[in-house]
Symmetry: C2
């Protein structure tokens, strides 16, 4: 193994191909030209149907995986606003349909792709049912939710989702991109940004909010084996959370007696970060310093964000990652996070 890519955005070219996987009552909403009425935030299209070669698994294998030496890619799709879709039944129906469509068309015909169980967190019961439905499938290696959210993910309403992840030993992946759409909170702590540039730059705030919420609400005391992979958010913002939080913990934990360890311990033991898009520090030493702070030798996973490479080639982006870390970032850390299931054969639909 040379490269495991934990974040490949497989695309949908025709929603009509997904529609047969959706329950008949809601199928008409998915089958319409242009696809279902997904919540949009106005900064860029999200979850749009695209006529793109990246929607063809054979083409992607040849032109990306084989061409760049990627052995294995975890598919994360592009529906970032599903968890802030106003209608929770439509969101859950789309998630179920897409999961089956992904298994049939991408995962099971190939050895090089693994799937994510996409769920919509605004109805935790349906999310849990979907994890129970597909959690034992060897083609699925994680549960996936958009980080765009009506509420911080430490809230107790979401805990059944984490119980289900742990039940199947599946990491939870979060992915930025739906922030500000549908029933989402504004995309920053001070309200709605105006331009794509401002909005995109602000996205790591989602992860900061969720980390703080999950730690302070005691998610990792309750689910000590839960792992969370934060896709597509960079890495430089993590140290401030760990150490602001550690300092405050000494004085402020009386309301949260279940937070027994310094917050940085929960963060470093449970969260994983991905390489695309790594911040562009003016000197390599700054990156080296931050990689040391976040214990990147265990916590950092290679991701391409394919095919959205507007910020540059994901292999160029990691050129300043020290050689001593490279094997871990490219392969070993992903194997440690995802375990044997990453290498298990994908089985045909029974």
């Amino acid at each position: 193994m040379q490269v495991i890519d934990v974040d490949l955005h497989h695309q949908i070219s025709e929603w009509s191909a997904v529609a047969p996987y959706v329950a008949s009552g809601l199928r008409w909403r998915v089958a319409r030209p242009g696809g279902p009425p997904l919540a949009r935030h106005g900064f860029k299209k999200v979850g749009a149907a695209v006529a793109d070669p990246a929607a063809d698994p054979t083409w992607v294998k040849e032109h990306y995986l084989d061409a760049r030496g990627v052995d294995l890619a975890i598919l994360t799709g592009s529906l970032r606003s599903l968890g802030v879709q106003p209608n929770p039944d439509l969101a859950a129906a789309i998630a179920r349909g897409l999961n089956d469509w992904t298994l049939d068309n991408w995962v099971r015909p190939f050895n090089c792709y693994k799937g994510s169980i996409l769920v919509a967190q605004q109805d935790p019961q349906q999310a849990v049912a979907e994890i129970d439905r597909l959690g034992a499938d060897p083609g699925m290696v994680q549960v996936l939710m958009g980080s765009a959210s009506e509420a911080p993910l430490g809230r107790r309403a979401y805990h059944p989702i984490y119980a289900a992840c742990v039940r199947y030993n599946l990491p939870l992946a979060l992915h930025i991109g739906g922030e500000g759409a549908g029933i989402s909170s504004p995309a920053t702590a001070v309200g709605h940004p105006t331009t794509y540039f401002e909005w995109y730059g602000s996205l790591p705030q989602s992860y900061m909010g969720h980390i703080m919420s999950m730690v302070t609400e005691g998610v990792f005391e309750r689910f000590p084996t839960l792992k969370v992979v934060l896709c597509d958010g960079g890495v430089f913002w993590l140290p401030h959370i760990m150490w602001r939080f550690d300092k405050n913990w000494k004085a402020q934990r009386s309301e949260t007696p279940w937070v027994k360890l310094p917050p940085s311990r929960y963060i470093l033991d449970h969260f994983y970060l991905t390489t695309y898009p790594l911040e562009a520090a003016p000197e390599a030493k700054h990156l080296h310093h931050v990689l040391e702070m976040i214990e990147a030798e265990r916590t950092l996973l290679f991701s391409s964000g394919y095919p959205n490479w507007e910020l540059g080639d994901p292999f160029d982006m990691i050129r300043d990652v020290p050689d001593a870390l490279r094997r871990r970032v490219m392969v070993d850390n992903a194997l440690a996070v995802y375990g044997d299931r990453l290498l298990a054969p994908n089985r045909p639909r029974s």
Copy 2:
């Protein structure tokens, strides 16, 4: 000069003492026992009247400034939610009243205190009028707004406030603490936190949102001499913004052609950070690395946050700041930011 403290929270012990400074029509709302109906977020009291020795300028001079070798302190009060007060007229009336009360009772009788022109940003016109009313007073050294906001501070509605700051050569100070109160956006990018611990830890998100908004909306191209001091938010979170933003700028600036420089340049040239409460990194070298990233030799100002020392003594907190930076952080940087007005005599009310 040994120490300049840029963030001393002078307290109000009796709102009845402030009421005479408020216009007669709204005076009754301020004079009531417990003070005016200030927006509260439910995490801690904000802007509450307290029977506290810190409300006595003579006591504070003797027991804090003189005892700790502080030559000069900039007063920032404790009304953090004024900019998210639902009634903009009440907010503006309170700001005017408090500014006059501060001048009469704290600034003008002493040489060791300087005031901030408190304004409420939800009505920019009244904020501008207040800056015009007091902007030439040598006792006032900055304009002060809460960072809690209905909208990010780069929005064009707020630009007249920045024009007024520049007109009087006054830095703008922002202060965290009202986040989530009144008409504020939720205190994180993913909704409302639950505990004080989570809420307080999340507060730097406000500054991130405002910085991104002010840079992308072109505030510093329009007001090239504007300086912004970010009080009480720590420092470790700044590098990620600079370099995530710089990277994105290369690909994403077509919507914002007025952002002519890499965003880190605007950030390092226009924003200043304060020392209380510095994050608690497990090793001093991590702090040193971050201080280098943020060019702390120019951008970092000593602040005490007096009297709210729940996170520790502000002098202990800076023990790992390198000796080579100490004089700049304690004195020289504040003199550079605030200029001659910091040393000018406070004149009596004319």
